[in-house]
Symmetry: C2
Subunit: 414 residues, 2 copies
Amino acid sequence: MLAEIITIGDEILIGQIVDTNSAWMAKELNKIGLAVKQITSVSDNAAHIVSTLNEAQKRADIILITGGLGPTKDDITKLTLSKYFNMPLRQDKVTLDHITSIFARLNRPMIESNIRQADVPDGCTVIQNANGTAPCMWFEHQGKIIVSMPGVPFEMMYLMEEEIIPRIKTAFKLPVIIHQTMLTAGLGESFLAQEIADIEDSIPSHIKLAYLPKLGQVRLRLSASGSDEELLKNEVSAITEQIVARISKYVVVADDLTLEKAILDKMKAMDLTLSTAESCTGGYISHLITQHAGSSAVFAGGAVVYSYDLKESILGVNHKTLNDFGAVSEQTVREMVQGAILHFKTDCAIAVSGIAGPDGGMPDKPVGTVWIAVAHKQQVVAKVFNFGGKRVQNIERSATAAFTLLLNLLKQDV
Amino acid sequence: MLAEIITIGDEILIGQIVDTNSAWMAKELNKIGLAVKQITSVSDNAAHIVSTLNEAQKRADIILITGGLGPTKDDITKLTLSKYFNMPLRQDKVTLDHITSIFARLNRPMIESNIRQADVPDGCTVIQNANGTAPCMWFEHQGKIIVSMPGVPFEMMYLMEEEIIPRIKTAFKLPVIIHQTMLTAGLGESFLAQEIADIEDSIPSHIKLAYLPKLGQVRLRLSASGSDEELLKNEVSAITEQIVARISKYVVVADDLTLEKAILDKMKAMDLTLSTAESCTGGYISHLITQHAGSSAVFAGGAVVYSYDLKESILGVNHKTLNDFGAVSEQTVREMVQGAILHFKTDCAIAVSGIAGPDGGMPDKPVGTVWIAVAHKQQVVAKVFNFGGKRVQNIERSATAAFTLLLNLLKQDV
């Protein structure tokens, strides 16, 4: 049993938006044992939508489509499906009532194009969209299932979680797919591979090992498929134990977590609190932390301070330190991290001061020069990095480096 | 002349990573007048890679492939292409020297798998990857061009910018594609469409109008293709003027900018400075602002404060206010925004205090309740929102709402 995802919209093909729907949907499908064979993005073009749909049905049994269901003229998915399945449009009363109630709640008049959103191909199963006006449509066609959903992420997510996934689980007996990820930091993928070469060679063919590198981190992922969940779990768990034992120095956590979530979990278990003092990362580090539910149990707060003035008034950095050594210096970043601990009253802190670029580089401190300090108890560790990349990458790498430094400092506290 | 993008990697199909490469590449290709017909993501499976490559060549002239070039066993793209083009692998001296120099610089030993990265299909054009060890390979095959690049984004980006785009521009006479985007806030897409229905009906067929909604914002995008750049520009510009004149109340900017970049530009022109006081958005607002180059000319800094204690000590919120009204209240958010202006010494400020969830909801303040205040000169505007969504969406919507409130306040200052 295989699934495919088709995302429709000119905005994807011209690169105006990143297709985040597909990854989210693929993850949800994999959780219920449904592997995704292919993800295809096509423009709002009827002929291309039809040929893509035909190709997808040759490979997969369930096709999930997002996008192209808006009320405006550029959206043609519904009309295309109506013709494809030879199901003329009819007005759906339940959908119309739903749309009418949304507009009544917003106290807005309905216009012709809103009413037309209640038209559906006659013969499909109509599934109401609690978060929007475009209904979801479920087609059964020559033994295949084709589902059309809106492309707005939170509308699609609600429909997947509440409607589509439960219906798929009821309709099919699905195989089991198990993934186990190990997050590592500090060693490149080829060296990790060398360290565990003999283990990798011994892995049976229904289990795959993949290396997923990302700026300073490598994820190792085992994927097993079969029918006996208990057996697969035991097999994967045994291999995971072997690998973790071999490269324990580099394993952050044997789970598919982000680096900052692994740190949050560790700090929560150690009953430690954290604050941040950010310059060039501009709030990105505190954002990464606070996007996780429950982060406030560990994270007290942080300051983003660009100017000398604010580094002094908010964090208590000495005027003389800034004048003598500059904002991007070991001395300043050490005072920033201590200032964060003092003013935000936390056990640990992260401080970053650097030149993210593209401007602000100097001969002795080019763009990409970043000083990072982390503190835990009385210990402060400071390190300089020369990322030399572009602004967004420098911000990203600074965050990864800061988390890795803090993690290593916490590891010493056992 | 059409292009297609194929991204290879199991991690995409199981939803472990979001494919951000495709959007970036599509944008770059469109800039040089090369439309992308389809984006296809497939797993590390040789047969599927081959069939995808065959299908793509039926539709497009240039196929850009990313991913599957790492040194580890799960990466099979190079071997698959070698067999597909019937070009046996040979060791490339220049590539080997490049890899050797990288390892020498890192002071690390080279292992067998690193050396094998210098193997390339005999007959392709090898393009050195300045940011990594996997070389880029350019194939010419039955009148089509197929390029294989590493999937690591900053390696791919460098290769595209420095090598692939210039080579494509040299090789072909490309048509012109022009996009013009208008960012609007405050009116839904169906109402916008109604407002400009007659303008939309008059648009010639070589120009398309698309509506791209995203939590509280709608982008209108005109896309024109043809051969005469000047003519297309004039046509698009005339339609843009008509639309902007019609819906001027809702147009933030007639450009493809993010909301925060439009605000930064506007504030810079008005010579105003900005600070933030964030609770539930946890640094996301300051991160959105500071990811833009040059933001420090406007943005002075900000505080992320979760506890009552820090709201008092960092921002000067009154203890009595917090006790009497709670952290998520009009009174608190007004004192937060004034505290930000005072302590960060700025002309304008944004303050947000809310319940992002999933925990922390109360009967009178459920999850998704967010108070936002914006301040400019002596004016403070505060408003409550009930987003009621999930954590990440609540954070995202809070940021959009805050920027829209600030923008409207700035608009009054003329």
